[in-house]
């Protein structure tokens, strides 16, 4: 009987991420998480907006002033893309939970639909915002 470290050394290793070919399904999956984390941090911006409005007109002005800087605008645009992606892919998740779209080809088709929906919703929101 060999010792425990020898046994450990002989164990097969699971495929590591760096030797794993990226797939559309796995990429969209980690993107869902990344967008979720970004949106969770975005709660700070929502809180700033609401707390500033409750504090004073000057505080609200500072928050809105930041939103209209290039950095603020970039952050809001990024959050809008993350939001629409997380929303669209979240709906795909709900379909999976109900037992639909679980075949690989269906998961791929729905994945492309999610990307299309993200693009359409983002475009629609920003077209409406910039047109008004």
């Amino acid at each position: 009987m060999s010792n425990s470290s020898e046994i450990k050394a002989k164990r097969p290793l699971s495929p590591h991420l760096q030797v794993y070919k990226p797939q559309m399904t796995s990429t969209l999956s980690i993107l869902h998480r990344a967008c979720g984390v970004a949106l969770a941090l975005g709660t700070l911006m929502v809180a700033w907006w609401l707390i500033a409005a409750a504090t004073s007109e000057a505080a609200y002005g500072i928050a809105m002033g930041f939103a209209s800087t290039p950095l603020g605008g970039f952050m809001i645009f990024g959050w809008s893309v993350a939001l629409f992606y997380h929303l669209s892919n979240g709906v795909r998740h709900l379909f999976w939970d109900m037992g639909y779209l679980l075949k690989i080809e269906d998961a791929y088709k729905a994945g492309y639909l999610v990307l299309l929906s993200t693009a359409i919703l983002t475009c629609a929101a920003w077209c409406l915002a910039l047109a008004s």
């Binding site: 979720g36 984390v37 969770a40 609200y60 709900l94």
Partner: protein
């Protein structure tokens, strides 16, 4: 000879009937994540539409918009549902990636308090403007 758990797993009959799993919570977290996800769909679409139509609004216009009962109620529901969803989601992310037990618990408690505290601050702000 067949062992008892070959038929029923390692769980007792009572444990199987309760279905609460080893942590005692069962599918509670999973289900709450789905319920808040479903609630988030209309609430988030409403908020995006509102922000777009509020573009360029003055302080007075914004506060009077938020003072309307329907808008204040939907905004509170939006805060409750999305912040709770964020708490549930970030909990899973931390559980998956932070392997140091002490740091993990520290981060989990911190996230819980962060979203609860920020949520209370948002709801208080909405009520202060609306009432």
């Amino acid at each position: 000879m067949k062992l008892k758990w070959e038929n029923h797993g390692i769980k007792t009959h009572l444990g199987r009937a309760r279905g609460l799993g080893s942590a005692g919570h069962g599918s509670d977290h999973w289900m709450k994540q789905r319920v808040t996800a479903i609630a988030n769909i209309p609430l988030v679409l409403w908020l995006v539409f509102s922000i777009v139509s509020l573009k360029g609004a003055s302080y007075k216009e914004f506060t009077s918009w938020l003072s309307e009962p329907l808008n204040a109620i939907l905004m509170i529901l939006f805060i409750l549902s999305t912040f709770y969803h964020a708490k549930l989601g970030s909990q899973v992310v931390t559980e998956d990636y932070i392997h140091n037990e002490g740091l993990k618990i520290f981060k989990l408690i911190g996230q819980k308090l962060f979203f609860f505290g920020l949520g209370v601050a948002c709801i208080f702000s909405i009520l202060k403007i609306a009432l």
